[in-house]
């Protein structure tokens, strides 16, 4: 067992720790909530996490470069509305065009953020705090106080998220969830295998060193924001398909949830490290806690947010503590191994000296 732990890299260890926390949360709630663990719970969490997984992935791309995107909730709201409005007025448009429109629009918002952060050198927290309000106001203006209604959307769009691709007992693997997980895996492979994507980590760990190493930091940060915008746009498309009714409040507050999911998922808020698989698990954990709390009789409506906050802090703390323990244990073992090796070598040289 310990041998296996030694072989894992720190990121894999973190994911393992997160999985343990998810299991702990499941066990805890199954003790206090009757009729809790069943296929239905899986369906609930997987359906609702599909959107958050995309947003957490988008957020992770930006956070890795030592930035943050607070405008993600407004972006998803605007894209969901605009895409809904496009399909309402042109019901014959196909899925490809619609998804491309959503992602293109999101990328455009990302480009605005990216340009201001990368080229105008304004701190991202300030830029995106501004665009958070700006994009939302643009939506209020654009929507002309109308809303998008499910009744005006084509059938394929509305039924897409809940299409069951395959079923295992009560557990259903639905299209939206599977699509989101595929996107996360794709981004994960890109981040770990592609040379260009490694630049994001380089910039996040040490911007000056990255610059010295010949990385075009401005361009890379800009691209990170554009990609995040495109992913948020895809999230907007999924949001439209899932909820159907889009008003100007759509996606309100999702930016903070996406940050929470990323950070809980082990993405370092100071940049340079983190995985999108972790962010996906973080999204699962936050959603799991949120959904389960609603069913926990002990916690009233008004305390839920507070309890959610405490539980997120606890899970992050547990995760950090577990990580530290595991790392310390590993270091101790490596230390002992090294000592033993030195002792051995010393012994052999001594023997050699004696001869």
């Amino acid at each position: 067992m310990l041998r296996i732990l030694d072989k894992l890299n720190p990121q894999a260890l973190r994911i393992l720790a997160l999985l343990l926390v998810v299991v702990a949360v499941l066990v805890f709630f199954s003790l206090v909530v009757p009729n809790y663990l069943n296929g239905r719970l899986f369906n609930r969490i997987s359906s609702s996490v599909a959107i958050m997984a995309l947003l957490a992935t988008a957020q992770t791309l930006v956070i890795i470069t030592r930035n943050i995107d607070l405008s993600i909730g407004s972006t998803i709201g605007f894209v969901a509305f605009a895409t809904g409005s496009l399909i309402t007025n042109n019901p014959d448009l196909g899925p490809v065009i619609l998804v491309a429109y959503a992602m293109g629009l999101g990328a455009m918002f990302g480009a605005i953020n990216g340009a201001l952060v990368a080229f105008a050198k304004v701190p991202s927290i300030i830029v995106t705090l501004g665009t958070l309000a700006l994009f939302r106001s643009a939506l209020v203006e654009y929507s002309d106080s109308k809303s998008i209604s499910t009744a005006n959307l084509p059938e394929w769009l509305v039924s897409f998220p809940n299409t069951v691709l395959w079923q295992w007992g009560q557990m259903q693997f639905r299209a939206a969830f599977v699509a989101a997980v595929l996107v996360v895996i794709l981004v994960h492979i890109a981040l770990t295998r592609l040379r260009a994507a490694r630049k994001l980590y380089a910039i996040g760990s040490n911007p000056e060193a990255a610059e010295m190493a010949g990385i075009n930091t401005r361009k890379t940060v800009f691209v990170a924001f554009v990609l995040a915008g495109a992913l948020a746009g895809l999230g907007g498309f999924m949001f439209l398909a899932r909820f159907g009714t889009i008003t100007v409040v759509a996606g309100l507050g999702l930016e903070l949830k996406s940050v929470a999911a990323s950070v809980v998922g082990g993405v370092n808020i100071f940049g340079g490290s983190g995985t999108v698989i972790g962010a996906l698990l973080g999204a699962v954990l936050v959603d799991l806690i949120d959904t389960s709390l609603v069913r926990w009789q002990l916690v009233s409506e008004f305390w839920r947010e507070a309890v959610l906050g405490v539980l997120i802090l606890l899970s992050v703390a547990t995760d950090a503590l577990l990580m530290r323990r595991l790392m310390a244990a590993r270091q101790a073992r490596e230390h002992r191994k090294a000592e033993a090796k030195i002792a051995q070598e010393l012994a052999s040289t001594n023997r050699g000296g004696a001869e």
Partner: protein
Amino acid sequence: MKSTKTLGLLAALMMSGASLANAQTALEGGQEADMVLLPKFLGILVFDQANEGAQEAHAELGNPGELLFVGPTPENSVAGQIEIMTTAATQGQGAVMLSNNAGDQIAPSAVAAQEAGTRVVTWDSPIPGGEGEDVFVAQVDFGSIGTVMADMAHSILGGEGQMAVLSATPDAANQNAWIASMQEALKGDKYANIELVDIVYGDDQAEVSYNRALSLVDQYPDLGVIMSPTTVGIQASAKAMQDEGLCDQVKVSGLGLPSEMVSYTMNGCAPEFALWDFRDLGYLTYYTAYGLATGQLTGDIGESFSAGRMGDFAIEEDPGRPGSKRILMGPFTVYTSENVEAAAQ
């Protein structure tokens, strides 16, 4: 207070000697008064409809002044409403028509507006304490909404079963009043076998309401109906039940828009729901506010006036809020598969 009296006196003078106290006031058009229609927030269809009604009345009365439709952004509703109220007072607007989302927190700024000579007419959702409000234009009798909702639950459940409420925000004065009146109605013998198991809040956001509706089903396996007194909540709940194939088990009811609910009513997810006409509400509110702002109405109990195409209305004491005044619009329509398609056109 003084200015109110002066205005009242002016109004009496203008109507000249022939008219009697408490007689029908026919509002005279063409007088100038700048008006502000202030919804809870922008972007929900019903508020847009109310604005259409107000614009209709504005044109009909030939008011040379301006009618502004301004509201806060949703995430900033409470603070935004207070700010707009304060601004309206400093701009010297004739009247503010407010669908209050700020509870009693808006009262100080509303009082300040009144002192500056701006009349404050609430509609859709009143100021709970009544302070700072000239009169409340009630869409329907708040007590009877409770009975209607209890009756719809009764008919859907066949007289027996569990129901849960999915409301808007915990601060919404109108929803809270309706839920309270429904709880009161449920005490009646007729509803003895109906159990209200929970009240949850979807914040008038589709995604929150959708998830809350599903968790209600998970939490109460025997739940028979979700009652949602908000147009956003009822639609999100119905969609959630439909998406999860739960419509046979859990029905959705409450207050909804026919155009948004028609498919769910026809497929049986939401067999019955109710609503009133928001265009009419905006229209009547405008007439009331215009009468007050131009001094043709004093806003006293017992005063009555005729509001264009909608006929005659009277100012009375609000039975739900002693000491406050209201104008009762009514009635509302219960929609079923029989009449929903026609209404959705």
